[in-house]
């Protein structure tokens, strides 16, 4: 959708702007090593965007920076540079660029990169992000929801279902607000405007599904704060987003066609 100054790159730059507090929190929490990973991410993603610009004429997108920071936040383990570069190449090319670039992808490029890292190198342990990143992501969420880039329906649906399901499993839900991985993942991955549902009722369903999956994975798998939980929940949720939209549109069409009276 292009309306006035709102085109694809406006949204990408707004996302990057909203990411700045998170980047500051990341550098404070983890120091220069995390900064170095963001730079590696930018270099790898920039390289592939350039390749696709030359080979297919696909314009590059600033949204690549979101992927670079998301990977640095959610994969803090002892990842070697070649492993990081391989996963980023895979996530960017297969997750995003082959579909025609950012905005046409089914899955978020960072989610594909992180799933590749978690599956491909399962021996690496990833610590959850800290409370400062959680706070910064909360600030970003306010900005993104206020500008309409992140859907408040998807975010509310995800948070409500996550808390309800986790509470029914008997988890300590008060601590969730301080889990950096969970809050960051909910705002920037699960509610990514491209890979989430695009119809209003669909956003509620999508948010609920992703939040419910996150609660399930957190309870049964690596724990609620673990980065894997929210990444895998988003991976599965995003796969269902087109189906949810399709169903919502089909129901709407049928209701409109029904004879009045």
């Amino acid at each position: 959708m292009i309306r006035g100054i709102w085109n694809r790159e406006t949204i990408a730059w707004m996302l990057v702007g909203a990411l700045l507090p998170v980047l500051a929190a990341l550098l404070t929490e983890r120091g220069t090593e995390a900064g170095l990973r963001v730079l590696i991410g930018l270099a790898v993603i920039g390289f592939w965007q350039l390749v696709f610009l030359i080979a297919r004429g696909q314009p590059p997108s600033a949204a690549g920076a979101v992927t670079a920071v998301a990977v640095a936040v959610l994969a803090p383990g002892e990842v070697a540079v070649w492993q990081l570069a391989l996963a980023l190449s895979f996530g960017t090319v297969i997750g995003e660029l082959v579909f025609g670039g950012w905005g046409r992808n089914v899955l978020n490029g960072a989610v594909v990169t992180l799933a590749f890292l978690y599956f491909g190198f399962p021996e690496i342990q990833h610590a959850p992000a800290g409370s400062m990143i959680a706070l910064a992501s909360g600030l970003s969420a306010i900005l993104l929801v206020a500008t309409g880039i992140v859907s408040w329906r998807a975010l509310t649906g995800a948070v409500l279902v996550l808390l309800a399901v986790a509470a029914s499993f008997g988890a300590e839900i008060a601590g969730f607000a301080f889990g950096g991985s969970l809050v960051f993942g909910l705002v920037f991955l699960a509610c990514d405007p491209v890979a989430s549902a695009a119809t209003n009722p669909g956003r509620w369903v999508y948010g609920g599904l992703t939040g419910g999956l996150a609660a399930l994975f957190g309870w049964a798998g690596d724990g609620f704060g673990a980065p894997q939980t929210i990444v895998f929940a988003t991976l599965l949720g995003s796969l269902f987003a087109p189906l949810i939209d399709h169903a919502v549109i089909a129901i709407g069409t049928r209701q409109r066609r029904r004879p009045h009276g």
Binding site: I2, G57, I94, F116, F119, G120, P122
Partner: protein
Amino acid sequence: MARTLRHLLAPIIDNNPVTLQVLGLCSALAVTTSLLTALTMSAALTAVLVMSNIAISAIRHHIPNSIRLIVQITIISTLVIVIDQFLQAFAFEISQRLSIFVSLIVTNCLVMGRAEAFAMRNPVGPSILDGLGNGLGYSLILVIIGIIRELFGAGTLLGLVILPAVKDGGWYTPLNLMLMAPSAFFILGLLVWAIRSLRVEQAEPKEFPLTDEPERRHG
């Protein structure tokens, strides 16, 4: 002569059963974790395909049209049982590693597809070449995927160490992902992409072309 040879050569790349017709994927994904199983499966499938094409083509005028699928399946499953028993007798270990997938050649769309589309309508000679060509086309893809998965997933080829693994004192860290099913999908997808970039006539028309022209948009 050239026309006869086309039956053999066309399915190898131009009309490859796996990458263009997209048939027989289930086994292509399941048996390619190592090169040895991929080769065995390729040989088994090619043998079944050639023999079923011969048998069906030879009796094609005597098969009643209404029950032709039943007759084809009976012939194919008989051949599969023979091949399966042969493997169990002479290559028991490989037969264990291939588990159910040799028996599942019965349901491989590739074998049924060639029987129905070619052997039912052509004499025995071209049917042999068609079966052999399609078998080789399938084998080519399986061997390529098998080589990539075994080499990067375990550092070996046919069990011989090519890239010495870290746990045996070498330098190579095996990619576990390569031994999981998703990697076969990725490699196959990349292979289809590569073939269609080189042979553009295989590429399908774009459903949603990229455009920046505002008048092409709606609303």
